[in-house]
Structure formats: structure tokens, C-alpha cells
């Protein structure tokens, strides 16, 4: 059975990376999920309970993506770009600092997707407008989408998956992760300042024109949404409802003001994506139950000591690079949950920071894309990989050490 479900998992992952003819990833994932149930690799009840567990998480991400898109439509990211351009005063070093602040906040609040899809293009446009080399700022934005996604349960899909398994409240999660988050961002900052020291000394020009004002309404809605996450968590209400409400409020206003059309909103709400994650979850579950879980449990460390936590993070980072972060967290959560919340958070540090070794999220994805995709626009991988090697191991180790210290200080976890 493991051969069947394992092969199906590899097929689903390969399809997701290659995306033949641009077909949605769900095209492979959903039939694969049906097959594992039909052949009996996973029984129907288990499949349904997995889906029930994943559904609120995926719905949340779908809602937060809509919130991000509507913030963009309202001009939030344009405003951020102009602030960065003006605040830099033509200095690459100051621009880098501002990019760090913007990317850390956007990632933490609106999730890593918003940083990759919405903020990074603005960072590129801003660097070009300021007339400084864009590379350090692009790399910073790309890295922080991963490494700054530690703070809140809503910052990364992996965090939300883990929140359910950990039994932590929203506030407790943030309390445990705020210091690791700051430590990891600090390491990224100092490595980039050092590595790009010369590029950052070149002078650009200050960008004077600031035509955009901060769109107050979306900013307030996002702020209320954050408070709502904390309140909802304490009441046992899913974060997806809060994000959905925020999306709805922003959507109604945006449609009334003709900033977006109902049709484009439908595109923001990504149904195939929801189907993909659910299908992937079922297939991974079948693989875990088919024997991979037992195998991984031999590798899995026990206990909440610093060494154990470091091993958890390392295992998670390796796995995230082998199969991508989403399957990695699905594979490891059941094992880490048996140990405790700190092990789960260490796994999160691993799957969230680990992908920075490459710019596409995992070594597997990088290799597949090199083999299968067009070679006309290949990015030189050397420099990004060097930067990943410089920051990732240090960030993992220091982030986990910070988590261990905080966990012991707070106690009770």
C-alpha cells in the first residue's frame, strides 16, 4: 500500500511543480486522494476527518489572499512603496531597512503569499525608482516571506495547520514566537548588510513625489481583523471566519467604489487551491499511515530539550527542501504533536525558514523546474544559494534556541 500511496504522492508533487500546460495542481491531487481511498490505503472516515481538519485552514488562506488582493486594489502596497522610496532618501542601506520592516509586517499580518505576490513587485519597482541595485532588496523580500512568517498563526499556512495540532491559543503562539521571529529577522538583516555591503553603498536618488495617502479603511479593517483573531481564538472560533468577514467588508466596499469587479473577486477566491491542499492532505495521510509515519518516528527526537528541538527543526528543514513545506508539515505534525507544543513550534521554524535555501521554496522544486521548465529565463542560482547557506542554518539554530529560552521562561508548555 505504501508503494501505491507513495507513488501517488510523488506524482502529485511532481505535477504541482511542473504544472503541465499550466493546469491547476488540483487536477492531480484530487484524483490521487480518491484513489488512495478506493484502493484502501486510507479508509473513508480517516480521509473525511483529515479534510475536516484541513478545511478551516485552507478557507482561512483563501480569505486572507482576498484581503491581500483588496488591500492592493485600495492602494496599500502602492502607498508602502512610495513610503519606502521617500524614506530611503536615495540610500540603499536605508531602503533595505525599510524593506525589512515592510516585508516583516506584511508577512506576519497578511501571510507570506502577500509578501511574495504583492509586496515584492513593489519592492522591485521602488528600488528601480530610487536607482539603486535591486538585488539586495529583492532577496530581502523573498527571504523574509519565509523567515518573517514565524510570528502569528496566520502568517503562514503551515502555522495554522500547526496551531490546531498544538492546542496553543493565538496569543500564546505569538508570545512564544515573537522572540524567535525577531532573532531570525535580525540574522537575516546583518547577513544581508554584510553580504551586500558594497551594492548598498551606491547612492541613488530620493523619490520626492508621494501622491498616495495611506488608505485608512483597509488599514483599519486589517487592524480589527488582527484583534478579531485573538478574540476568536479565545472563544474557540476559527480564524477563517474572521478573515472571511474582513474579506467580505473590504470586498463590498471595493465593489461599490468600483476598485474591483465581482468577477475579479472570484479569481482571488481560489477554489482549485482549496481542492489541491485537501487532496494533498489526504494523500500525505495515506503515506503516513502506510508506514512512513513509523519510519519518521524512528528519526524523530523525543523530549523538549534544546538538542531535541534543534533536531526537530533540522529534520523539518530537510524535509521541507525534499518535498516542500506543506507536505513536510503534514508529515511531521502528528509526530511532533505527541511530544508537545515546543516541538511543533520547532518544526515550524524548520519548515518556514528552511525553504530559504532556494528561492522557489524547496530544493526539489528547484531541481524539477531546472529539468522540466523553460530555460530562457533561468535565474543564476549561485548567489541566492550562497545567501541561503549563510542565513538558513544560523537562523534555524538561533531561532530554535530563542524558542527554547522563551518556552522555559514562560513555562507551562
Amino acid at each position: 500500500m505504501l508503494v501505491v500511496s507513495g507513488s501517488l504522492l510523488i506524482l502529485v508533487l511532481a505535477f504541482a511543480v511542473i504544472r503541465p500546460r499550466g493546469l491547476p495542481e488540483a487536477i492531480a491531487a484530487v484524483p490521487a486522494a480518491i484513489i488512495v481511498v478506493v484502493v484502501g490505503a486510507l479508509n473513508g472516515h480517516e480521509a473525511l476527518s483529515e479534510i475536516r481538519q484541513l478545511l478551516p485552514v485552507v478557507l482561512f488562506l483563501a480569505a486572507i489572499l482576498v484581503v491581500g488582493d483588496l488591500c492592493e486594489a485600495a492602494g496599500v502596497f502602492r502607498w508602502a512603496g512610495e513610503q519606502m522610496g521617500r524614506g530611503s532618501g536615495g540610500s540603499g542601506k536605508r531602503l533595505l531597512l525599510l524593506v525589512f520592516i515592510a516585508a516583516s509586517v506584511v508577512t506576519a499580518v497578511l501571510s507570506l503569499d502577500a509578501t511574495v505576490v504583492l509586496l515584492t513587485p513593489v519592492v522591485l519597482a521602488t528600488a528601480r525608482a530610487v536607482r539603486v541595485p535591486a538585488k539586495p532588496h529583492m532577496y530581502a523580500s523573498a527571504h523574509l516571506a519565509n523567515s518573517a512568517s514565524l510570528l502569528l498563526p496566520v502568517s503562514n499556512l503551515t502555522n495554522l495547520l500547526a496551531l490546531h495540532a498544538s492546542g496553543l491559543s493565538f496569543g500564546r503562539f505569538a508570545l512564544l514566537m515573537v522572540v524567535p521571529w525577531l532573532v531570525v529577522i535580525g540574522i537575516e538583516y546583518f547577513v544581508m548588510r554584510w553580504r551586500f555591503g558594497s551594492e548598498l553603498t551606491l547612492r541613488g536618488r530620493p523619490v520626492r513625489t508621494t501622491s498616495t495617502r495611506l488608505p485608512i479603511f483597509p488599514a483599519v479593517v486589517v487592524g480589527v481583523m488582527l484583534v478579531g483573531f485573538v478574540v476568536a481564538s479565545s472563544l474557540g472560533v476559527e480564524a477563517a471566519w474572521v478573515a472571511g468577514a474582513a474579506a467580505l467588508v473590504l470586498a463590498v466596499r471595493a465593489v461599490v467604489r468600483k476598485e474591483v469587479t465581482v468577477r475579479s473577486l472570484g479569481g482571488s477566491l481560489n477554489i482549485p487551491f482549496i481542492a489541491f491542499v485537501l487532496g494533498l492532505g489526504v494523500v500525505v495521510m495515506a503515506v503516513v499511515q502506510g508506514g512512513l509515519g513509523t519510519f519518521l518516528s524512528h528519526l524523530a527526537p523525543t523530549g523538549n530539550g534544546l538538542v531535541s528541538l534543534l533536531l526537530w527543526a533540522a529534520l523539518a528543514a530537510v524535509l521541507a527542501n525534499l518535498v516542500n513545506n506543506l507536505p513536510a508539515v503534514l508529515l511531521l505534525l502528528p509526530l511532533a504533536a505527541a511530544v508537545g507544543p515546543l516541538a511543533i513550534l520547532a518544526v515550524l521554524i524548520g519548515v518556514n525558514v528552511g525553504p530559504n535555501l532556494t528561492y522557489v521554496g524547496s530544493l526539489a522544486t528547484l531541481l524539477w523546474r531546472r529539468i522540466a521548465c523553460d530555460h530562457d529565463h533561468e535565474v543564476a542560482i549561485g548567489e541566492f544559494t550562497i545567501l541561503g547557506l549563510l542565513t538558513t542554518p544560523a537562523s534555524l539554530a538561533a531561532g530554535v534556541a530563542a524558542l527554547w529560552v522563551v518556552g522555559n521562561l514562560l513555562g507551562g508548555t
Partner: protein, 169 residues
């Protein structure tokens, strides 16, 4: 074809373009003038962006176009500056695409002079003041190459002394 004019290629990049244009203006002979090509080649940031977005699985989103001036504004400013500094120059501009060091090297085939800027470590004199792409162009260009400090060159005191075991010491 009459008496051919001096052909000057200027590699326009953010951060160094003003110094390069100014140096190119000095190379324009008074009276006969020169043909100056201002060349800008964007880096691979757009490709990096697309790859990073491809790394987000299952989101099925189309990459968003980047709202940049795409070099046109930078080239226009460089052209205006050169026009002010060297009225005799016949100026053309070009935005290249592809691996930047190869594109610039290829363009140097049709030039008498190539002007480019130091982009590396500008705090001391030495080989690290040239970044990898610039180094490639300097090593492979067929024409005369003029290398420009974007601002005042660091002092000669930043040159390391002779090693203690050097026999000429």
C-alpha cells in the same frame, strides 16, 4: 562613408551612471564629436520574482507585472546629462536584455571606448571594487575600457603595503 566618428559605449547602471556619462563626455572630441551609445540592461530581478511566485504552490496565480519605468526614464536622464556636457555627441540609447555581462561585452564589439562604473567595494582601492559582471566585461571587451569611480576614489592609503617578505622592500 566620410570620416568616421569615435564610437563610445556607456554602460548605464543605477548608482554609477552619472559618473560614467561625465567620463564619456570627456572622451567626446571637440569639433568632430562622437557617437555615443547609452546601454542599459536590467538585471534578472523579474525572473527571480517569477520563480519565487512559482514556488507558491497551488495558488494558481498569474505573476503580476512590475510597474517600473523599465530603464526608459534612466536612459532619458543619462541622455539629457550627456547632451548638457557634450553638445557635439550624437547620442543613441538602448535597453538590452539577457545576461548583462554578455550583452555589454557583445555591444563593445562596435565601440572604440567602453565606459563603465565600479560597483563593488568602494571603500578601498583594489580588485573588489569591481563586481563579477563588471570584471567579466573588463576581461572580455575588445575595445578600450574606461573604468570610473562613481564618486571620489578612496585615498591611496587604502592600498595595502608591500608584504613583509617581499624582496623589493
Amino acid at each position: 562613408m566620410g570620416e568616421s566618428k569615435r564610437r563610445i559605449l556607456v554602460w548605464v547602471e543605477p548608482g554609477t551612471w552619472e559618473a560614467c556619462v561625465s567620463a564619456a563626455a570627456d572622451l567626446v572630441p571637440a569639433g568632430t564629436g562622437a557617437q555615443v551609445l547609452l546601454l542599459y540592461v536590467p538585471d534578472d530581478s523579474e525572473d527571480l520574482l517569477r520563480e519565487a511566485q512559482a514556488g507558491l504552490w497551488g495558488r494558481g496565480r498569474r505573476p503580476r507585472p512590475v510597474a517600473t519605468t523599465d530603464g526608459a526614464e534612466l536612459l532619458a536622464d543619462a541622455e539629457a546629462l550627456l547632451h548638457d556636457l557634450a553638445g557635439d555627441a550624437v547620442i543613441s540609447t538602448q535597453q538590452g536584455s539577457g545576461p548583462v555581462e554578455r550583452v555589454v561585452t557583445a555591444a563593445s564589439e562596435n565601440a572604440d571606448y567602453l565606459v563603465l562604473g565600479r560597483e563593488g567595494d568602494l571603500s578601498r582601492r583594489g580588485p573588489t571594487s569591481l563586481v563579477k559582471h563588471t570584471r567579466f566585461v573588463v576581461d572580455h571587451a575588445q575595445c578600450r575600457v574606461v573604468i570610473v569611480w562613481p564618486s571620489a576614489a578612496p585615498s591611496a592609503a587604502t592600498i595595502p603595503p608591500l608584504p613583509p617578505d617581499d624582496p623589493r622592500r
